[in-house]
């Protein structure tokens, strides 16, 4: 017998086999981005101004999809009987929601650049995200930094709410049926934070956080409006969870009501 009786060799082998593999473990760590280390962009230290309602304008318009929207995929809710019972028909994915004319809902439109040193009060009214029929409603929400975001569970099943931010601290909380609303705030601008439920992996919503009030989410007809915008030169951007972002320059004169449009062209870029 060669190996079995050679205690020293065998011990070295056992140690080598275990430790060699084990020593490689640290290489696996540390690739995850620590999203909490980012810092918000610095703003001017000059005293902030207040938007004058006498000169403020607005921008409104429609977001469209060029070409047919992809067929909505049915969601399989068989993993939770309460979800199946809550829906007469299986719901479909809300990733692309467009009407027959191609008007695209759930697009976040916002002023990206050009805002001066204005002071904006944090809205006291909270933004609400409901869990109903094992779906998030609304699917896309815009909120302000520091504004309260309320999560409610109207279902007869348990959910977990798991935002996956890159620029805000991440958290994961459960919410049983009938449990009190969960209130959270996000302190840094971020477009947009996916909000998941890992109990029901089809549940996903997006939460866009802004440090100014100049944002809107397009409705079922693709329409949007941003009000009370001071005169100036801006960059207006539209973000969609599947089609990415589009941007265009925007010039607002005093009291002007500007009309713009965004057209997403799947697979071929986009245009305004």
């Amino acid at each position: 017998m060669y190996f079995g009786k050679k205690i020293g060799n065998s011990r070295r082998l056992a140690f080598l086999a275990f430790m060699a593999a084990f020593s490689l473990l640290p290489a696996a760590c540390g690739n995850q981005e620590n999203s909490e280390k980012r810092t918000p962009p610095e703003r001017s230290t000059a005293p902030p101004a207040v938007v004058g309602p006498a000169t403020a304008g607005s921008v409104s318009g429609v977001v469209r999809l060029d070409g047919p929207a992809p067929a909505a995929r049915k969601i399989i809710m068989s993993g939770d009987a309460a979800c199946t019972a809550a829906n007469q028909e299986p719901p479909t994915s809300q990733e692309v929601v467009a009407d027959a004319q191609g008007n695209l809902a759930n697009v976040v439109i916002y002023v990206k650049g050009g805002i001066g040193n204005f002071s904006f009060a944090i809205p006291k009214t909270p933004v609400e995200i409901n869990q109903q029929g094992c779906m998030y409603a609304p699917h896309v929400v815009a909120a302000r930094t520091g504004q309260t975001v309320v999560f409610r569970n109207a279902d007869k099943t348990i959910h977990n709410i798991h935002p996956q931010p890159k620029n805000n601290p991440s958290w994961n909380r459960s919410q049983s049926p009938g449990a009190p609303a969960i209130e959270e705030r996000f302190s840094r601008e971020e477009i947009a934070i996916p909000v998941m439920c890992n109990v029901h992996p089809w549940m996903r919503s997006y939460l866009a956080i802004f440090d100014h009030p100049y944002s809107a989410v397009s409705g079922p007809g693709g329409a949007f409006e941003i009000r009370n915008l001071p005169p100036g030169n801006y960059t207006l951007e539209a973000w969609h969870e599947k089609y990415g972002t589009l941007s265009q320059a925007l010039v607002i004169s005093a009291k002007e009501a500007k009309k713009v449009s965004f057209v997403f062209r799947p697979g071929a870029g986009a245009s305004r």
């Binding site: 065998s10 056992a14 696996a28 309460a82 994961n172």
Partner: protein, 305 residues
């Protein structure tokens, strides 16, 4: 020190090995169903041992229950081995297995409590495979074959077969890390694809070397066929799993075909790593290293003179 064969301990190790394989499947199901954070608390699940088993909670809590059972079974293995086994290094290997399963439990908890950050899921996935390999080693070291006398097969070529086997096992484990990195969204797919071809190269090289040097040794032949077969299946499974991801990329949830293929690919990866360790152990068991061969030769000359 001569070792004694304990059939009960060996069979128990095999049972634990099968249970660990089941645990690997349960863990892979958690990841593939995006259910890792379906239970936000740890060590309890929603503050209880019996949470509602719906949706992702079913996968996550089942994984925890099976893991707890494996942990308990590993404690028994460590105690049994410590009491029954005469080889000290085997006793310490059992303690290493116990340490690994405890650490694995802690890593699993940190994975949940740290919301999948700081590389915890990757460390958890890799340690799972190390633990599986350790239990497989225990089953091998306590087998009748390992303890019984085996012929000493010379290997005068360079590099030694031990070097080949170790390099192969290290490459396979590197591929395990790359696969876990992609699976847990910390790196792109291309390093894992490159790794697949690297592993294909090292396994082919090792198998050809085994055939060239030990073509008529039954154990080596079996090991060669085993690792080639498992890796061949694993390579095809990898292609199928990747294709299933591309095909179902627009699906609103993890689709059953993608989940099944990915889980099978993950656990076959564990089998590939275990097979590569098996080759290492067979080489060390049957083939004396050059230094040991020289010492044996010196002893023989001393006896003759």
């Amino acid at each position: 020190m001569s070792a004694t064969y304990h059939s009960g301990l060996h069979r128990y190790s095999l049972v634990l090995l099968a249970g660990t394989f089941l645990l690997l499947i349960a863990g892979a199901l958690v990841t593939s169903n995006d259910a890792a954070l379906a239970v936000p608390d740890w060590p309890l699940s929603y503050g209880t041992l019996t949470p509602p088993m719906v949706g992702g909670i079913f996968y996550e809590h089942s994984h925890r229950v099976i893991a707890a059972c494996i942990g308990f079974l590993t404690i028994i293995l460590a105690v049994w081995t410590w009491r029954a086994e005469s080889r000290r290094w085997v006793r310490w290997l059992a303690i290493a297995a116990l340490s690994a399963v405890i650490l694995q439990g802690v890593l699993g908890g940190l994975t949940v409590l740290l919301n999948l950050h700081y590389g915890m899921p990757i460390a958890h996935a890799c340690l799972a495979q190390i633990f599986f390999g350790t239990v497989m080693s225990m089953a091998l070291f306590t087998s009748r074959w390992w303890i019984s006398d085996q012929p000493s097969i010379p290997d005068s070529d360079s590099p030694s077969i031990h070097t080949f086997a170790l390099f192969n096992a290290a490459t396979v484990f590197l591929q395990v890390i790359l696969g876990a990195g992609f699976r847990h969204k910390s790196m792109p797919i291309w390093p894992h694809i490159v790794g697949a071809f690297l592993v294909a190269g090292t396994i082919t090289w090792t198998a050809l070397t085994l055939r060239h040097r030990f073509g008529n040794v039954r154990e080596m032949k079996l090991a060669r066929i085993l690792i080639n077969s498992v890796f061949g299946v694993q390579f095809l499974l990898g292609v199928a799993a990747w294709a299933s991801r591309l095909i179902t990329a627009d699906a609103p949830q993890p689709m059953p075909a993608m989940v099944a293929l990915t889980v099978i690919h993950t656990v076959t990866g564990a089998l590939t790593f275990a097979c590569s360790l098996l080759v290492v152990m067979l080489c060390y068991r049957l083939v004396p290293r050059s230094r040991e061969a020289a010492m044996a030769s010196t002893r023989a000359e001393a006896v003759i003179s």
